[in-house]
């Protein structure tokens, strides 16, 4: 269990504004009156639940095997005078397939419209983890990348240039060892910056390198924009419609998609999703 003291700044950091202005208060399962919703996404077995526990003080069971979290778990924390609701999503390798756990993760990122999505990335398997990260960046640009398992990367002789990664992805990248609570203060700071719009995100856009696809996406996205002005991810919706994704087609005809532009999807989505939340301790 990460204790409170580990996440607090040491005296050496006291002069740094990023550290001394803020304190983390773990709120456990108390998620009432939240100001911001934060989603935790990432590949299986990268330490999402560990980050979740470190931030909320909850003890969501953590296991060293992929596919442990298949339902959403929710918790809360208070940081710098704002209440955050944290949602731990099932680990997935992609958001394009049809298994229930991937659908839960994708639907929440799309329809739940979290204020920030923390993508927990395994530093020792960066390439495969980036596949998911890039897909999430297509849906939302309010992303913080938690570059976890840095200790294992070091042990394997891997050196990850997080500054380069940050420039490439266009969102904050925070190196971490979540198991030992390292990087949690920096992560909180990055989340706050994105929430307040203090970090100018310039998310990476996937290049399809195929003029036909680019044209089709462009046309369809334009039509979506005309119908739903302010839709935050018209390009991604267009991509899914082109593939004939049934759940997105349904969202379009049933009007759920239209709610996204007005930010109303959160409520109805939360109501719908609570049905899917199951509270098993292990």
């Amino acid at each position: 269990m990460t204790t409170q003291t580990e996440t607090l700044p040491t005296t050496a950091c006291a002069t740094c504004p990023a550290f001394n202005s803020a304190q983390l208060r773990k709120l456990g399962i108390n998620t009432e009156d939240w100001d911001y919703v934060v989603a935790l996404a990432g590949n299986p077995n990268t330490g999402k639940s560990t980050v979740f526990n470190a931030l909320t003080g909850l003890r969501q069971h953590v296991g060293n095997w992929p596919g442990k979290t298949v339902a959403r778990a929710e918790g809360g924390f208070r940081y710098d005078d704002a209440n955050y609701k944290l949602v731990d999503l099932p680990g997935t390798y992609s958001l394009l397939s049809t298994s229930v756990d991937e659908e839960i993760a994708r639907d929440f990122i799309l329809f739940g419209q979290p204020d920030v999505t923390i993508v927990v990335v395994d530093a020792t398997r960066l390439e495969r983890n980036l596949n998911l990260c890039l897909q999430i960046l297509e849906i939302t640009d309010r992303v913080v990348v938690a570059l976890n398992l840095m200790d294992e990367a070091n042990r394997h002789g891997l050196k990850v240039d997080e500054r380069h990664l940050m420039r490439q992805l266009g969102v904050p990248v925070v190196p971490m060892v979540a198991r030992r609570g390292e990087g949690i203060p920096e992560l909180l700071n990055a989340v706050r910056q994105v929430v307040r719009g203090e970090f100018a995100v310039r998310p990476h856009r996937i290049q399809y390198r195929d003029s036909q696809i680019e044209n089709a996406v462009h046309n369809l996205a334009a039509q979506l924009d005309a119908r739903f002005p302010g839709l935050p991810n018209a390009r991604w919706v267009a991509l899914r419609l082109l593939e004939g994704d049934e759940s997105i087609e349904r969202a379009l005809t049933e009007g759920t998609l239209g709610d996204l532009q007005r930010g109303e999807a959160i409520k109805s989505q939360n109501e719908r999703m609570t049905m899917g939340v199951v509270g098993y301790g292990d």
Binding site: H61, D210, L242
Partner: protein
């Protein structure tokens, strides 16, 4: 192009454009684009320096633990070790807890009741019913669970479970099921309801149904105590004292392994009959071995897992204790309600090498398997009171030796009863929570019924067979 922008127009445009960009290839092109970008970024951001010493060690360990033959031997030894430690380690604390809760506290409560001049029915209901059932659950379950959970969690934390899944993958593939079923099966060894939810990682509906229906063949928390107790007092007792714990552990492992075989057999049957199809290909990631955090594991597995499971058992046991006490003390004609029920089911129970009490216990325990043993003990004692000439409250101080005496002398149990109870514990309907979860996950009444009934049919078939064989050979 239509631009008035209604939803259907957008869908229409999408369909048109999809035809232009060549349907099938589109998905591949998307994936390719994502992979290319990811590879490029990763390549530029990561540099390698130094030796890959740890990686070498991991690979060496993997070669051993996932070896075709050796892997299975390690698996067997690992299971045996875990249960041996559980059974050998739980003996003393179990006896101490029983002495305390069923002896000292029980007697004290009766003294208090007498001092406050409680009417007999009230002290009976509260102390012999509710308290006793709860105390039994705690003394039977707490010590083994407090040892078993941390051990299991340590293995999990270390990264051993995915290797087990890897080993079993080949077998599941042969059974026409999804390899990831081994993961949901592992989850089922904790709780079947959680195991059923864990099947969400399987994307083919056919294979997911197979995984859901067979999850019940993983022994769950509620059933381990039954197996451990039976293994200890009946199977272990047949061995020389020095080997007793070992025999007991081996019998528990045998039941768990039979469970895995039944899982594979039923999966193979389903994938060749009602749920025909090919096994899909998937990739299973073997996570790195991580040094387990021992103190943290001890803390979380005792506080979270053990106590949560125990609490669930206690909340189920308390009302069950009241129901059992009432039903065995309210008389209709010449027998109590429970007596009538037991007499009614006794012929069937005997045919299966069990008895009426056990079958009634399994009906009472539909909400939670944890209360099977307390129910059996209470019913055996109260119904057998007259036979044994014992008064309620005299024989409550049950340590394991006395449990054995009660079951054999009062209940008329034999080794066959114990073995068949272990088999029936593996092969019977899922608990009500699991049934509800199956329905929630499948939204299909038919499959929920199949998942509920199929194990009972198997259980009846298997116990009937073993009972018949044992009787034909004159063992009982």
């Amino acid at each position: 192009m239509a631009t008035d922008g209604s939803a259907n127009d957008i869908l229409q445009t999408a369909t048109q454009l999809r035809a232009q960009i060549g349907g099938e290839q589109y998905h591949d092109k998307l994936m390719e684009a994502i992979y290319t970008d990811a590879a490029q970024i990763a390549d530029q951001s990561v540099s390698r320096e130094g030796q890959r010493a740890r990686l070498g060690f991991d690979q060496l360990l993997d070669q051993a633990l996932t070896h075709r033959i050796f892997g299975f031997i390690v698996m067997g030894l690992m299971l045996l070790g875990v249960f041996w430690l559980t059974i050998a380690g739980a003996n003393v604390p179990s006896a101490m807890l029983a002495d305390f809760l069923l002896g000292a506290v029980y007697n004290f409560l009766h003294q208090v009741a007498t001092a406050l001049s409680f009417p007999l029915w009230l002290s009976g209901l509260l102390i012999d019913g509710i308290y006793l059932a709860t105390a039994w659950v705690i003394s039977v379950m707490l010590p083994p669970m407090a040892i078993f959970f941390p051990l299991f969690t340590l293995l999990e934390d270390f990264g051993y479970l995915p290797r087990v899944a890897f080993n079993l993958d080949r077998l599941f593939h042969k059974a026409g099921a999804h390899g990831k079923q081994s993961l949901s099966m592992m989850m089922g060894f904790g709780c079947n309801a959680a195991g059923v939810i864990a099947t969400r990682i399987i994307d083919s509906p056919r294979e997911r149904l197979i995984a859901i229906i067979t999850n019940n063949f993983s022994i769950c928390n509620g059933r381990w105590p039954t197996l451990i107790l039976m293994g200890t007092i009946f199977i272990g007792a047949t061995a020389p004292p020095a080997l007793a714990s070992f025999f007991a552990a081996a019998s528990v492992v045998t039941i768990a392994v039979i469970g895995i075989f039944v899982t594979l057999l039923v999966s193979a049957f389903l994938s060749r009959s009602w749920l025909k199809g090919e096994a899909s290909v998937y990739s299973l990631e073997l996570p790195p071995y991580r040094p387990p955090r021992i103190l943290q594991t001890l803390y979380t597995s005792i506080i979270d897992r053990t106590l949560i499971v125990l609490w669930r058992a206690v909340t189920m046991a308390a009302p069950a204790g009241a129901v059992i006490w009432l039903s065995s003390n309210i008389y209709i004609g010449d027998a109590s309600i429970a007596g009538h029920l037991v007499n009614l089911l006794n012929p069937v129970g005997m045919l299966l090498g069990l008895n009426g009490v056990i079958l009634v216990a399994y009906i009472v325990a539909i909400p939670a398997n944890e209360i099977v043993i307390p129910t059996i003990l209470m019913l055996t004692l109260t119904l057998g009171r007259n036979i044994a000439g014992a008064q309620a409250g005299v024989m409550m101080e049950l340590d394991e030796g006395q449990v054995y005496t009660v079951l054999t002398q009062v209940g008329g149990w034999t080794l066959l009863t114990a073995v068949n109870l272990m088999l029936f514990s593996l092969l019977h309907n899922p608990c009500s929570t699991t049934i509800l979860t199956i329905w929630k996950e499948t939204k299909n009444v038919r499959w929920t019924v199949v998942a509920t009934i199929l194990p009972i049919v198997l259980g009846v078939g298997v116990t009937f067979t073993t009972a018949t064989i044992a009787r034909l050979l004159g063992w009982v």
